[in-house]
């Protein structure tokens, strides 16, 4: 290839376009689900990003138009987990097998920043919670927090319900996470195990549209009863009006450029 050909291009695709190198990512950047066993649904915890400076309606003047970052996938932890994590995981698995629940009820274990996360199947959530609360070697007496995360429209199983449990006896904290599809947002309610989940599950329904089956009264809690939509979903707009400041019009926050 001559120097000139390199400069003017040689019929090669533009950065980020079809057949460009973005489709043949370097090792480590490939989409995560290709490396995972086919039978397991991947836990995706982030949205894929492309380009920079939030510009997609004009020519690529930033030079970053070809930048493509795959969605973050929390890596599964490998044994030994270290610290007290092995003990909790072993005790939990043992207690579950005693109740006839297969180890596959826990899809994945992730340890990140000193916190352990159990990704669990929704069918077994209530029984896992009950085991965690009642088993003498686990004793997670307090359900600190129930919340949810919406990872965005393009993510499979985008709705995650997140449970933070605290063992006051052993002074440990763990996180349970249940991922569901937006078309089938059903997760069993843990109110019968942890009464404190009552309002928090109502908030999950109100804000994310997660249906906690078996909840005693799953109604809206923060928004008015006749509200349409679930405000914390990523496809629900933030709202707001443009404001004029020193002669310039400033768009509402969700329409401004996002430098991600």
């Amino acid at each position: 290839m001559t120097e000139e050909e390199k400069l003017v291009g040689s019929g090669k695709p533009d950065p980020g376009d079809e057949h460009s190198s973005a489709e043949h990512p370097e090792p480590g950047l490939e989409p995560a689900d290709s490396t995972r066993p086919a039978e397991r649904i991947p836990v995706v915890a982030g949205r894929p990003r492309r380009g920079m400076f939030g510009v997609d309606d004009a020519g690529d003047t930033s030079g970053y138009g070809g930048l493509r970052l795959p969605a973050y996938v929390p890596p599964a932890a490998e044994r030994p987990y270290g610290d007290w994590f092995d003990e909790v995981a072993d005790d939990l698995l043992e207690a579950l097998s005693g109740k006839g629940i297969a180890a596959s009820a826990i899809q994945q274990v992730t340890i990140d920043r000193g916190e352990i996360t159990f990704y669990v199947q929704r069918e077994h959530l209530v029984e896992i919670c009950r085991t965690l609360r009642d088993d003498p070697s686990l004793r997670f007496e307090l359900c600190s927090s129930v919340s949810a995360v919406d990872y965005g429209e393009e993510v499979p199983q985008r709705l995650h319900a997140v449970y933070h449990l605290t063992s006051m006896t052993y002074r440990r904290r763990i996180r349970l996470e249940v991922a569901v599809d937006v078309d089938d947002p059903h997760i069993p309610s843990v109110v019968e195990v942890y009464a404190t989940a009552d309002w928090q599950e109502r908030e999950n329904w109100d804000m994310f549209g997660i249906v906690h089956d078996g909840h005693p009264a799953l109604t809206r809690i923060l928004m008015p009863d006749d509200w349409d939509g679930h405000p914390q979903r990523k496809d629900y707009p933030l709202g707001g009006v443009p404001v004029e400041y020193k002669g310039a019009e400033i768009p509402p926050p969700d329409q401004r450029r996002a430098y991600t």
Binding site: R49, L69, S144, S145, R175, L222, P253
Partner: protein, 438 residues
Amino acid sequence: MTTTDPYASSRETTEGRVYTVTGGDWDEFLEDAAGDEKFVMNLGPQHPSTHGVLRLVIELEGETVTQARSVIGYLHTGIEKNCEYRTWTQGVTFVTRMDYLAPLSNEAAYCMGIEKLLGIEVPRRAEVARVMLLELNRVSSHLVALATGGMELGALTGMTNGFREREEVLHLLEHLTGLRMNHAFIRPGGLAQDLPDDYHEKVTDFLKVMDKRLPGYDKLLTGQPIWRNRLQGVGYLPVDACLSLGVTGPILRSAGLPWDIRKTEPYLGYDEYDFEVPTTTEADSFGRYLLRLEEIHQSLKIVRQCLDKLEPGPVMVDDPKVAWPAKLTVSSDGLGNSLDHVRKIMGQSMESLIHHFKLVTEGFSVPPGQVYVPVESPRGELGYHLVSDGGTRPMRVHVREPSFINLQAMPAMSEGGLVADMIAAVASLDPVMGGCDR
């Protein structure tokens, strides 16, 4: 019943007759209701006894509460969603407006979450200063709990005294941070700026004032028969009910469990400080009053130790990719830009200008992942669940708000008691609706 009074009318609905009572007309209402004393009463959301815009719907039989439900959401402002559209640093100005009586707890927990995601540690001086501010904030929050609780029970001198002392705290916080409330002073990586030069003198003066005035509460309220009779044995919630309902903070400790995250999972170096976690086993509103009063003393003890521990040094991490560049200064209208910094970026250094612009408009990227950071706010466990997808804005900011969780215990505390006892029970829960509704 006076039908001419436009504020005390009655009307027919599908659910039965609805009356608006204004006070003093109770007998007329009962006469009109043909002696049936079982009815549903609505209290709030605008009512001087409901601790903010809280609405209580209660079923009464005579004066006994048979069922009680709280209705919330009147102060929902969508702060959690708003945070997703701002940079991580801008989020501080939002979260500080949730629990407006404990803004510094919110700022500290939020920033500690970001620091955990980033894997950075704040400098020693910033850590000690945070502890000092948090404890001052705890004092002011407990004073409001005493003051508004007193007001709801008719102890108006308790209210005026509580707000008088709280004013001292707010005055001090204004001097230290630039603002009385909603400080946005604790920032990811440290503090927005250093404490003022005369902080030692001002805090010492404040401690002297508090030492002189705090015994007044014991004289005014602790031994007072009316206060005791209104609170003792009222709003009972034993420890198993607390755990089941997720109730933490002074309410859990009043049931006898010494659970205080400052002791059980020390953060910000709380394990270095010498302080007690007071408990009672009464599990009633009076026990909670005593605990809050004692916690004020313990907080002042921590503040004293902070003064000894504060040594000169940086108050922001030494990482120009995270540290807010402006080195803000306090001026007459609160925190503002430092003129020195503006002079530098506008007149001397193009690179500084670029860097400033990038950090302020784009923010810093936070590696993907999630953390849950709990702190002991004046009302209990305040937890921040932060999720990052690797960008410069949060994917999700969830707040485990103690007011929200604790308020669930209202029916358990008040059903079967009198209306007046329900008011005392809600006052002892000390919910802050700004935090509850977020």
